[in-house]
């Protein structure tokens, strides 16, 4: 007769439950602590609502964002046009919803560019050190010598004015910050024993970086990436305001604010609502990112 232990459906004992809880990843614990904070959760809620509204824009509004209706030009907020109409009679709420799609796309894609490039360049600099680190460090210093929006403007000047080039410009201008963050994380993580162990069993450098180092430093990087999306949305709106991205009649928040200046004396709603849309989106991402940072910060947890 087999003495094999049969699997039972017995409930988990207190001791097993305790070790399961202890084994829960840092990430899960951090996310649970985040879920208990009201302000970041409010930020998440506002962000989710914003994303749903812009995705469902065709359903939310019966108007075409580009269709002109001269007889309805420069009407203030009303039951028919909740946020008023612009100089061409286009519904402002519709243009804000469709404009949100572009802003979120630019935010995500440009941060994706910066994150991906930063992962490659930062991990090479941090892991290998030596002349690679020096050369990359000098390149980053040069990029950071262009203050704020000037680096993105320079790239747009070289590549030409268009939305894809704007995404590249905003993405490239976030590479220095991502590179420094990832380089710092890899520098400290490469001294750990698990890296030594991985080398001892014959892991290649690329495998060590991909499978061991990067996953262990992802938490602060993702926090920074979240906050960076907010910065990217602001940068993109600024460049569009300056006429370096979308062209009329494309609905885009920064471009709409630029166009509103011609009507500032007669149509206050054109200058107010797109700005509030930008602000609401950016605040929600910032408070969520701040909450994520606090949740992942072990020093903060000790308080």
């Amino acid at each position: 007769m087999s003495m094999a232990v049969k699997p039972t459906a017995a409930p988990i004992t207190a001791m097993e439950g305790q070790s399961a809880k202890q084994g829960a990843s840092m990430t899960l614990l951090a996310l649970r602590s985040l879920a208990r904070k009201p302000i970041p959760m409010l930020g998440l809620a506002v962000l989710v609502i914003t994303i749903l509204l812009v995705i469902l824009a065709p359903v939310m509004t019966p108007y075409d964002p580009a269709k002109m209706s001269p007889t309805e030009a420069l009407q203030g907020p009303s039951a028919r046009h909740l946020l008023g109409t612009d100089g061409f009679g286009r519904d402002q709420l519709t243009r804000i919803l469709y404009g949100g799609r572009l802003s979120l796309q630019v935010g995500l894609i440009s941060v994706g560019i910066g994150l991906w490039a930063g992962l490659v360049v930062g991990s090479v600099a941090g892991y290998f050190g030596g002349w690679a680190d020096e050369a990359i460090g000098r390149l980053i210093d040069i990029m950071m010598a262009f203050p704020g929006i000037l680096l993105a403007m320079t790239i747009v000047a070289v590549l030409g004015i268009s939305i894809p080039n704007l995404m590249i410009a905003v993405g490239v201008s976030s590479i220095p910050a991502f590179t420094r963050l990832i380089r710092g994380g890899v520098l400290s993580a490469r001294e750990n024993d698990y890296v030594l162990a991985a080398r001892a069993i014959g892991c290649s450098d690329l495998a060590i970086i991909r499978r061991h180092l990067i996953p262990n430093i992802m938490a602060p990087i993702l926090v920074y990436a979240t906050l960076r999306i907010a910065t990217a949305i602001l940068a993109s709106a600024s460049l569009n305001f300056l006429g370096m991205g979308a062209k009329p009649p494309t609905p885009e928040w920064g471009l709409m604010l630029s166009e509103s200046r011609s009507f500032i004396r007669t149509a206050w709603w054109l200058a107010t609502f797109p700005g509030l849309a930008i602000m609401a989106t950016v605040i929600s991402i910032n408070v969520l990112g701040d909450g994520l940072r606090d949740a992942f910060d072990p020093w903060m947890k000790g308080k």
Binding site: R138, A145, P147, I149, S238, F241, I283
Partner: protein
């Protein structure tokens, strides 16, 4: 201290060279042929209605004039040599020397940047001190919320709102005016400095909160001083040290912000010049304004490093 200054200056030189190289190479990474672009601009301006067909001879002459028939390192050398002698070429549009155009616009940007810095520091210090004195109360929460709101707000939108409310509705300040006049400077300076004041406020608050755990502050409290006196008379001076360094770094964001604020308020300045140059594809002017701004930024950061080393001697021996 001298060795530290020399060491940092030597580190700044490769950065400056790198910036100049990046700006120089801009012209060589442009889509399309820069020679054709310049010839088309030239021909278009001189005789807008005439035939703009370009001959091979004109093409070669322009190529030679621009030095584009030389090896890249020779071109870069000439670019640096000319730049050091104050020659950054001529604007496509106006044909005016780029250096002269930049010099004409420097005062406006400088004044705006200083005014913006003043607003940023004043507002940031006040908000930070109020938050620290009233920490963990609703006042603290409200001031820090205001700080988050201000960094989430597009500064060009804030500028437009200031124009709408204070210039057009309340008519307290002019919408436009002589750029060096104080009244014309207030709204742009507030629009520029408001966003940066958030960083100053947060740093001031956290720096003060750290400093209040020191023994001398405990002594001041034990003597029976009010919380306000403890903060303002004893804690503030030491809490200011990290704030001073961030103020220096704010200068960079003032330069960057001025680019947008000058456009919002239709003010002359280097920022407006750079924007116009990019939109009009005036490449000598783009190169000149971006090179100038980047060099000023590097020098400003270098001076901030020096002031930090002077304030905190431990930094020099790092």
């Amino acid at each position: 201290m001298t060795r530290y200054i020399l060491r940092r200056a030597l580190l700044a030189v490769p950065t400056l060279l790198g910036v100049s190289l990046a700006v120089f190479l801009m012209l060589h990474f442009l889509p399309g042929d820069p020679v054709l672009m310049m010839l088309t601009e030239h021909a278009g301006q001189q005789a807008p209605s005439s035939n703009t067909d370009i001959t091979a001879e004109q093409y070669e002459n322009m190529r030679h004039e621009l030095g584009l028939d030389q090896p890249l390192y020779v071109q870069y050398g000439r670019f640096i040599w000319r730049a050091l002698h104050g020659d950054l070429g001529k604007s496509f549009r106006s044909q005016a020397p780029v250096v002269d155009t930049i010099i004409d616009n420097i005062p406006y940007t400088f004044v705006l940047a200083m005014a913006g810095l003043g607003v940023s520091v004043a507002l940031g210090l006040v908000l930070g001190i109020i938050a620290a004195i009233n920490r963990d109360t609703w006042i603290d929460g409200a001031t820090m919320t205001l700080a988050v709101a201000s960094i989430s707000m597009p500064n060009f939108w804030f500028g437009i709102m200031l124009l709408l409310i204070f210039a057009l509705q309340l008519r307290l300040l002019p919408a436009v005016g002589p750029p060096m006049q104080l009244k014309s400077l207030i709204l742009p300076a507030v629009a520029l400095g408001f966003r940066s004041s958030a960083s100053v406020a947060r740093l001031m608050r956290s720096s003060l909160v750290e400093v209040v755990h020191e023994d001398y502050v405990r002594t001041a409290r034990a003597k029976g001083l009010t919380e306000r006196a403890v903060i303002l008379r004893h804690a503030l001076k030491n809490a200011l040290i990290p704030v001073v360094t961030i103020v220096g770094l704010q200068f960079g964001s003032m330069l960057s912000g001025a680019t947008i604020i000058e456009t919002v308020f239709a003010r002359p300045g280097i920022g407006k010049l750079a924007v116009t140059a990019v939109v009009q594809k005036d490449f000598p002017l783009i190169q000149g304004t971006i090179l100038f701004t980047a060099v000023i930024y590097v020098i400003a950061n270098f001076l901030v490093d020096m002031s930090y080393a002077w304030l905190d001697p431990r930094v020099r021996y790092h």
